[in-house]
Amino acid sequence: MYPISNIDYFIISIYLTGMIGVGFWFAKKHADFDDFFLAGRSLTTPILITTLISTYYGIDVLFGDTQLAFTDGVVAWFGYARPTYAFFLIAALVLAKRLREDRFRSLPDILDSYYGEKTRYVGAITSFIYSLPALSLYGFGMLGEVILGWEPVVGMLVLGGIALAYTLTGGFWAVALTDSIQFVMMCLVIAMAFPFAMNFVGGFNSMIELLPKSFFDTLGDLNVFLIIIYASTGLSVLVEPTFYQRIFAAKSYKNVRNALIIGIFIWGSYDWLITILAMSAKAAVIKGLLPSALEPDAALLTIVIAALPVGAVGLFISGVLSTEMSTLDSYCLVAGGNISYDIYKPALNPKADDQRLIKITRLGIILSWALGFGMATLFEQMLGLWVFLASILISSTLAPVLLGLFVKKFRKPLAGFISSSAGLISTIILNLYIMTKGNFDVSEETYVIQWFGIDFLQEFVMYITVPISLAGFFIGFALNERIRV
């Protein structure tokens, strides 16, 4: 725990109270489900920029990037973060345009439209698992422990509980509005932290001199297969449920395209700065300014809190909490929608009215939060958990969604169903197998299992499961054709 002044606590309290206030202000103001779930499809470019950026930047980026930058240097940006921008550009120029041509409400809606109800349910389960806020809750646990000296469980319950409260009451309007406030806070505090961190380690040149040369190698010391896998987690952007939700909630395609193109520059800058801040933490450890036992995923927090003056620390902590809350609220809302709109309504109550759907969405939000809490206490490290969740989503939905969206003749029920089911099941089985039969490798920071004399990392699962999903798609397509004949 770090010494935090009363001024800092005051700033954090104001921030947290404000977030709850926004949620309660929106409570009971929703006219229908579209209002609650998609903010009435009226988001403009600036609102889209703020909500897209703040949602995407959660624990995986803030601590995943930091972890990698602290141990390996600039490869965290070049290998892990940068490829994602290419996927965002594809999404801006190609995918979003296609998605706006139909009036979808969710990712499983697309699967239903092209492959039928069964595939919708597989997509809904996948989207629900992916959207469980385990990473954000884990982050809250860590934040509570590092900053406030709380037990991780207390941090998860208190900080995660606040985000749950305003999401439950305010729906997507509250999420979008709080995201926007959170966006400015998280960007400004990171920009502000840089000069203080440089001052702390004795300047940028001093940091370069202190760090090993490999820290400035754009490919670092990382295994090339691992870099490919980290980069390919960016593929999740193309089937990311919260991202799709914002595309559907936008006023027009033009708003989405402009928001994404502007967003790429802000994303890139943010990623680069947290990479440099984590590297400065490493330099501070080498110089003896920070403890040598500093954990890689606590590097960013530690250096910034050590470097910033009183008052600025409170703003920084609020900014970090913002990063987490903006992610947790969005994922909980999507997961709630999966339960109500994608499963409950078509399977159990087709005549459910909008007020009933809003009520079930709220129950789904609570369920997702509770399951995310369970997962957050089970996993040992966050990069592995992020890869696990991303691999579930990519393996199960990438092939059927993209093939269905762009190739009309591929829209056959069995193709979508076999592809998504095979992708989902194989990913879960392989991940669980590696995590139970393999060993946790401290140096690789992931689970490893020996297969045919090769060290098979948990991160490599997608090498197997994406081809399984793709093969399943074409087997289903062929079967469908045969049945028809």
Binding site: I47, I49, C187, L188, A191, F204, N205, I266, Y270
Partner: protein
């Protein structure tokens, strides 16, 4: 000043000026949207 440092200062500029500019436009838009939203919910 190294290229690394120069690039970092550029990102500081993009992040701070960019986020403030976006927020100003956000305030402008949200006023109009909330007015409509409140009318609709009454």
């Amino acid at each position: 000043m190294s290229y690394w440092e120069m690039f970092t200062w550029i990102t500081v500029f993009v992040l701070s000026i960019g986020s403030i500019t976006v927020f100003v436009f956000f305030i402008k838009d949200i006023k109009i949207i909330l007015e409509k939203f409140l009318k609709g919910s009454k």
